[in-house]
């Protein structure tokens, strides 16, 4: 079957800041992450990519603060669609308060991680390791 032949190994990085997206990808590649990346600059772009390429995507790294459609709104939309509702999502946000973490988990109880910007490569990798393919030594 065609669907089975497409491995869900792409990471979708959603952030309105080009620099933050580049940094995230650079850190992950530098740590030996082998997955390919898809990028979305807005929540709307992310939804569009998820609609058309969800079979390829295995993880979403999602910024919270974005113009028009926020990361929370993207997550709200994702959890309502059965085809993508179980897709692992890691929030990457400048605001690391417990209140925000709580809000995110209310919207998506299966949220797999919450990373606060600015993050260290180590803290990013700690959260992301279970979901990525690493270069073999």
């Amino acid at each position: 079957m065609m669907a089975d032949s497409i491995s869900k190994n792409k990471i979708l990085v959603v952030d309105d800041s080009d620099l933050e997206r580049e940094l995230l990808i650079e850190v992950l590649k530098g740590a030996g992450v082998q997955n390919d990346f898809l990028q979305a600059k807005t929540g709307e772009d992310a939804i569009q990519l998820l609609g058309t390429r969800y079979k390829e995507i295995g993880l979403i790294l999602l910024d919270w603060q974005m113009p028009k459609m926020s990361g929370m709104e993207v997550m709200e939309a994702v959890v309502k669609v059965p085809a993508v509702s179980n897709m692992p999502i890691i929030m990457v946000t400048a605001s690391g308060t417990d209140e925000n973490k709580k809000k995110a988990r209310v919207v998506n109880p299966n949220l797999v991680g919450y990373i606060v910007k600015p993050y260290t490569p180590e803290s990013l990798l700690d959260v992301i390791y279970p979901f990525v393919e690493l270069k073999k030594e």
């Binding site: 620099l19 933050e20 603060q65 400048a94 690391g96 308060t97 600015p118 260290t120």
Partner: protein
């Protein structure tokens, strides 16, 4: 109520901003300021109900990038645009790529105005996020934060702010023995948790 109470704790929030900024820069890039940030309280210059944000005057008329976020007491207030606070970041154009490099970001395309604006906005976002967390740690309610807006040299339309406030706190930061980064912050009274 037409006239609400002015924030008597603005200086305290200025200290929180300074603390969060120093911690952020040390963690992110082990970036040290050449001297402690110069903090002063100044009057807000208002026109048309907005706060003036002129970047060039901060750096002897050198081209400057300016980014701003607003704070709100709740999601409802954010929807109604009932602003509680503002944080504005000014960085001299010539120093912005180096500052981002010191903070361990990938190289910025200096020729692209969009890329430069994006960098300044990214910086404003992480400073504001850290400041917001510091406010919560001090026992105040969690504020909502807007997305950043970016400008070159100045914001013609001005920045939203809390009308009860007359003052702002300015932090001027010396890096590499020169003034490289200026932050202005104004904040209305924030309820305690």
């Amino acid at each position: 109520m037409i006239f609400s109470r002015q924030n008597s704790e603005l200086d305290k929030f200025g200290e929180m901003l300074e603390r969060s900024l120093i911690a952020l820069f040390q963690e992110r890039g082990e970036l040290m300021f050449s001297s402690s940030p110069e903090k002063q309280k100044r009057q807000i210059i208002e026109y048309d109900g907005k706060m003036r944000a002129d970047g060039m005057e901060k750096f002897d008329n050198e081209p400057t990038y300016v980014s701003a976020v607003n704070f709100y007491a709740s999601e409802k207030d954010m929807e109604k645009k009932k602003t509680l606070g503002a944080l504005i970041v000014y960085v001299e154009q010539a120093y912005l790529p180096k500052l981002m490099r010191l903070l361990k970001y990938p190289p910025v395309d200096e020729e692209s105005e969009d890329a430069m604006k994006d960098s300044c906005g990214t910086l404003c976002n992480i400073i504001s996020g850290r400041f917001k967390s510091e406010i919560v740690s001090a026992g105040y309610i969690e504020l909502e934060m807007s997305h950043f807006k970016n400008f070159r040299n100045s914001s013609f339309e001005g920045i939203d702010f809390c009308y009860a406030e007359y003052d702002l706190i300015e932090l001027a930061c010396n890096i590499d023995k020169g003034k490289r980064l200026v932050i202005e912050m104004t904040m209305g009274a924030i309820p305690k948790q």
